[in-house]
């Protein structure tokens, strides 16, 4: 009842014409920022902060949050069309999204991404509204051993991302883990693998590696196959540009998976949406009946990660609003905005500012509807991009990649790194090494190492801390189970062969 009253109050705030307008401005800006690789929501929100002083705080908060979740909608666009991840959380979307585009199903992929985003985004807000305070308490029981187990679970997904050769997948993952080790060690301030370069002190930016091994390598491989230079097929007719009923049916589980995994991992201050997107993709593949076709353009391989990164925003707002604890770059800037407007984010924020909280929640329902209405008609338009001939498209991909990397860091060194990782991606592709495990190792490596070392410092060096805690023990067992999947498949195949003969 209390929630219903709060929500009524919230809609009264969010439906004021000015706030509706700010919501629209936010989600449109967010979509644009999401589409452009490199420029992310934290930088955009920071740039807009001075403007928000002229607005009332509710309108400003509604707009800034709109940028945050709107960017998650836009992030899939370049992943699917150009194999250029628009946001770090959209890297996984490249795996099946781009393959769908190559088969002439770009429209279906973009459409399913928008629908998954809408469903999961709405579920995320529901979660924020219904269970925020109790869930924040549960999230606090997560500490370094649990984070280590979560990362181990993520890393176990490598067996699901492997192509034909498990050894090659593991080697690629190890390379990713090594790259994650580059930079200044947090615990001892020792430099590792920096080769005397100051730019490497803070490590290698994940976006640089992802754009390199996906987008640049893709362009290089296509340029090499010169005689095959052909346009990507784009079917005629609006109907063929949208997801089919069968697509929607195939995604039933992915919608739920993305919504729940994204929200739950989003609530944890030390995880992040990139990790969540890998875990939901792995989960999707683990339970799928057509496991072997993942990576060749299956629609649920797009729906799960795209859902995740939208419900994650609802989750990430939970510790921010209930405890004043930011878990990511974007929520840190939102926290700063609240302070600058004169609020005191912390445990008493929601009880003392109910109108702002409920206004924000209501605006997020409205904003998600706006985003769906905004994004679905854009699908056919974006799909036309692929009609461009290769001699136009590939330079554009290179340009977008370089500008994206440069705009994220403002460093030419990162552009050089992009070229290097592009070459690495090309060589890996030639030798049939999968790129996804490399990215997985890179995403999880740093956080996993930190969590392990923190755990061991907490336990004074005893490894038992990792299995003595129930949540961590359960997750580690799950990880072990996933690692055994290929074994089960082999046993099953052997059994079937035995039955046949």
């Amino acid at each position: 009842m209390e929630i219903l009253a709060g929500l009524m109050q919230g809609f009264a705030v969010a439906l004021q014409p000015a706030n509706l307008l700010w919501c629209l401005v936010g989600v449109v800006l967010g979509t644009v920022v999401g589409i452009m690789p490199g420029l992310g929501p934290p930088a955009t929100i920071a740039m807009l902060l001075p403007l928000t002083f002229l607005m009332n705080p509710a309108g400003a908060m509604i707009m800034l949050a709109g940028i945050y979740y709107g960017a998650k909608y836009g992030g899939s666009t370049t992943s699917i069309l150009l194999n250029v991840p628009g946001e770090s959380a959209s890297v996984v979307t490249c795996l099946d999204g781009y393959q769908m585009a190559r088969q002439g199903r770009a429209g279906a992929a973009l459409g399913i991404a928008a629908i998954a985003s809408f469903i999961a985004g709405t579920v995320g807000v529901l979660g924020l509204m219904l269970v925020a305070p109790p869930l924040a308490k549960v999230a606090l029981s997560f500490s370094s051993p649990e984070y280590f187990a979560l990362m181990a679970l993520g890393l176990a997904m490598v067996v699901l991302l492997a192509g034909r050769s498990m050894v090659k997948a593991l080697l690629a993952m190890l390379a990713g883990l090594w790259i994650a080790g580059i930079g200044t060690d947090l615990f001892s301030t020792t430099s590792r693998f920096t080769f005397g370069r100051m730019e490497l002190l803070s490590g290698v930016d994940f976006v640089v590696v992802a754009i390199g091994v996906f987008a640049i390598a893709e362009v290089l491989a296509n340029m090499e196959a010169r005689e095959e230079t052909r346009l990507l097929p784009v079917p005629k007719g609006l109907r063929n540009l949208l997801p089919t009923v069968q697509d929607l049916k195939d995604c039933r589980f992915a919608f739920a998976n993305g919504s729940v995994v994204g929200f739950l991992i989003g609530v944890l201050p030390g995880a992040g949406s990139t990790i969540a997107s890998f875990i939901s993709y792995g989960l999707e593949k683990a339970v799928s009946r057509r496991r072997e076709r993942f990576g060749t353009g299956v629609v649920e391989g797009v729906a799960a990660p795209e859902g995740v990164n939208n419900s994650e925003t609802g989750g990430a707002l939970v510790p921010l609003l209930t405890l004043g604890i930011p878990g990511s770059g974007t929520t840190a800037v939102l926290l700063a905005a609240l302070v600058l407007w004169g609020f005191k984010p912390g445990p008493l924020f929601i009880p003392e500012n109910p109108a702002l909280f409920w206004g924000l929640v209501a605006s997020m329902y409205i904003g998600n509807v706006m985003l769906l209405i905004l994004n679905l008609p854009l699908v056919p338009a974006f799909a036309q991009v692929l009609r461009a001939p290769a001699f136009v498209l590939y330079p554009v991909i290179l340009g977008i990649s370089i500008v994206g990397v440069y705009s994220a860091s403002g460093s030419l060194f990162d552009v050089a790194l992009l070229a290097a990782f592009g070459l690495l991606g090309y060589v890996m592709r030639k030798l049939d090494y999968p790129a996804a495990p490399l990215i997985l190792g890179l995403v999880l490596g740093g956080a996993m190492e930190r969590a392990l070392r923190q755990s061991l410092m907490m336990s004074e060096g005893s490894l038992s801390i990792l299995v003595a805690r129930p949540i961590s023990a359960v997750m580690l067992s799950l990880a072990l189970l996933i690692l055994l999947i290929p074994l089960f498949t082999k046993v099953n195949a052997w059994r079937l062969r035995a039955l046949d003969s």
């Binding site: 929100i45 920071a46 615990f187 510790p319 004043g324 878990g327 700063a336």
Partner: protein, 324 residues
Amino acid sequence: MKEIAALAVMAFAGSFVEVAFAQGFQPTRPIEVVVHTGPGGGSDLLARAVALMVEKEKLLPVRMQVVNKTGGGAAVAAAYLAEKKGDPNTIGFFTGVWLTSPLTSAEARVSLKDLTPVVRLVLEPAVIAVKTDAPYKTLADFVAAARQHPGQLKQSGGSITSRDNVVRQLLQKHTGARWAFISFPGGGERMAALLGGHVNMMVIEPAEAGEHIRAGNIRVLAQVSDRRLSGFPDVPTLKEAGFDVPAVPQVRGVVAPPGIPKENVAYWEDVFLKLTRSNSWRKFLDDNQFEDGYQNAAELARFYDEFTDRMREILKDAGIKTVR
């Protein structure tokens, strides 16, 4: 050589502030303000808040534009400023890490001493907090417990060169007690570790602590400050609690690229002096529980040396290898 030149410039500028300003330099282009943190980090927020206040108080004829040069502690931002040698329209916001990262990373070649000092602006005090349900009522209780169980109590914090660990090292040296320091990269994770009961103690910014005290989540044992903060009238300072260790504040201030004429330095000193006398500034300090740390360029240069010497000794005590 550069250092000597810079010192000469500062000494000169310090004595002629008013005169130099009367005939001096005026920026003509928007001012590029370089910070070493990403959007939302401490320096970034201070720089953006200052840009807003400077605009509101009409202290500059042009806008201030924040540029984030992240990476390598502060190495990337410092190197960027060094490259801007002689550029009158660029300044940077520094913190203590600009002085400590060259001590521990061979790759961080540009130190604050290679840049032109302008002003010190802010001192950020801190408070020492435990969870409400912890058995420690005073800092002495905590230290006694740590002495009883060496290495078993834990403190969450940032990097080992951060102020959190400096406070720990000083307290450990003073008392002979030992407890563990667990590094977390993000402020949110540090706080979550304390609230979740995974660590026993944390050195925390007063403004952040304030809300958790009101909600009854944490208790403050002592403040890392020379004077009691307005928000914590009943909490003893380290000295009052019986721990005669220096109250190491986090410092923040302004530097300019090398090779800046003295009248430019004098101009900036004047702009920031006016800023620190404005009402917006006082409100800003109060909201954040910061202390006014204004020092002019000459004083700031002396502060560099004191700070660097103290940090070098603390790092040595902590068993951290210094490279310079």
